[in-house]
C-alpha cells in the first residue's frame, strides 16, 4: 500500500499539480484540505503518513497550522511548500518541527526525493 499524503493548499492548481506529480509513485493522495482549519480537523481522521503544507493561506497560514498539528501530534511529518523562499521562514518552519521545505516551482524528482527522505528519517 502506498504512503498516504494529505495536501494542504488553498490553491486548487497547486494541489492538482502535486497530485499529478505523485501519480504512479509509492504515494497516494488521501485528502486535500484548502485551509489550515480544515487540515487541523481532518488530521486525526485521515492519519496521513505525511503532509505537504502551503505556507501562505487565508486564515491560519501553513506555519500556524503545522505548529498546531505538531502540538497534538508530534510524530506528524510535514513538508512545507512555498513560493516565498526566505531564510527566516525556512528557519521558522524548521524550528516548528517541519521536516523539509520545498520552494516552488519544483520538479517531480524534487518532490519525490524530498518525500522519500522525510519518510526514511
Amino acid at each position: 500500500m502506498g504512503k498516504r499524503i494529505m495536501i494542504v493548499d488553498d490553491s486548487r492548481a497547486q494541489a492538482f499539480q502535486v497530485k499529478g506529480l505523485l501519480e504512479d509513485t509509492d504515494y497516494e493522495v488521501a485528502a486535500c484540505c484548502q485551509t489550515g482549519e480544515e487540515a487541523l480537523a481532518e488530521y486525526s481522521v485521515i492519519q496521513p503518513d505525511l503532509i505537504t503544507m502551503d505556507i501562505i493561506m487565508p486564515g491560519m497560514d501553513g506555519l500556524e497550522t503545522a505548529q498546531a498539528i505538531l502540538e497534538g501530534h508530534p510524530e506528524a511529518k510535514i513538508v512545507m511548500i512555498s513560493s516565498l523562499d526566505y531564510e527566516d521562514t525556512r528557519k521558522e518552519a524548521s524550528d516548528i518541527g517541519a521536516k523539509a521545505f520545498l520552494n516552488k516551482p519544483f520538479t517531480r524528482d524534487d518532490l519525490i526525493s524530498t518525500l522519500d527522505r522525510v519518510m526514511n528519517e
Binding site: A13, F16, Q17, I56, S83, L84, D85, P105
Partner: protein
C-alpha cells in the same frame, strides 16, 4: 520609510524573474519588446504586496498566453475558464514569490503578499499609479505587459512603498 531600489535594478529583477518563471512553470518564452499593449481579448492577473513593501504587480496579456500556460501546467489541451483563472493565479503566485525573494536580497525587507486576483481586461485601480511597465512578446507573437503599480497612499496615510531613487538610475 521608502525603500530605495534603483529603477534599473527593479526592472532587471522583474524581467529576469518573469522570463525564467514563465519558461519553467508555463513553458512559454517571453522576450522583452517595444510592442504596444495587447489589444485583443486580454486577461490580467495581479498580486498586492501588503507587508514590508506596498505595491501591486499585474500581468496583462493576450488570453491565449494564459490558456497555453494553463494547458502546459495541467498537461492537457481541454481547459475550462475556471482552470485558466486558477492556474494563472498559481503561476503568478510563483512569479511574485521569486520577486519577493530578490527584493529581500536587495533590501533585507521580507515582504508578504496576498492572494492573487484575476480579471478580464486590463486592471486599473484608482488608488494606484503606474510606476514601471515592461512589454513582452510571447513565442507565438502574443503580447504581454508586466506592470508595477505603487499606492498613492498606504492605509496609515503615510507614503510608503517600493520606490526608486532617480540618482541611482
Amino acid at each position: 520609510m521608502d525603500t530605495v531600489v534603483s529603477r534599473k535594478e527593479l526592472e532587471t529583477m522583474f524581467n529576469e524573474t518573469l522570463q525564467e518563471v514563465t519558461r519553467r512553470v508555463g513553458g512559454i518564452r517571453l522576450s522583452q519588446s517595444s510592442a504596444p499593449p495587447p489589444a485583443g481579448e486580454v486577461y490580467t492577473v495581479y498580486i498586492t504586496f501588503e507587508r514590508g513593501v506596498y505595491a501591486r504587480l499585474c500581468l496583462s496579456a493576450d488570453k491565449s498566453i494564459f490558456i497555453r500556460l494553463t494547458q502546459y501546467m495541467m498537461r492537457r489541451e481541454d481547459v475550462t475558464e475556471q482552470d485558466v483563472e486558477d492556474f494563472s493565479k498559481e503561476y503568478f503566485n510563483v512569479v511574485c514569490g521569486h520577486i519577493a525573494a530578490k527584493l529581500f536580497q536587495a533590501t533585507k525587507i521580507a515582504s508578504r503578499f496576498g492572494a492573487p486576483g484575476f480579471c478580464s481586461g486590463r486592471y486599473q485601480p484608482a488608488d494606484y499609479e503606474e510606476h514601471l511597465v515592461l512589454s513582452y512578446s510571447g513565442d507565438q507573437s502574443e503580447g504581454a505587459q508586466l506592470i508595477h503599480l505603487r499606492p498613492l497612499e498606504t492605509p496609515a496615510g503615510e507614503l510608503t512603498g517600493l520606490r526608486t531613487d532617480p540618482s541611482l538610475s
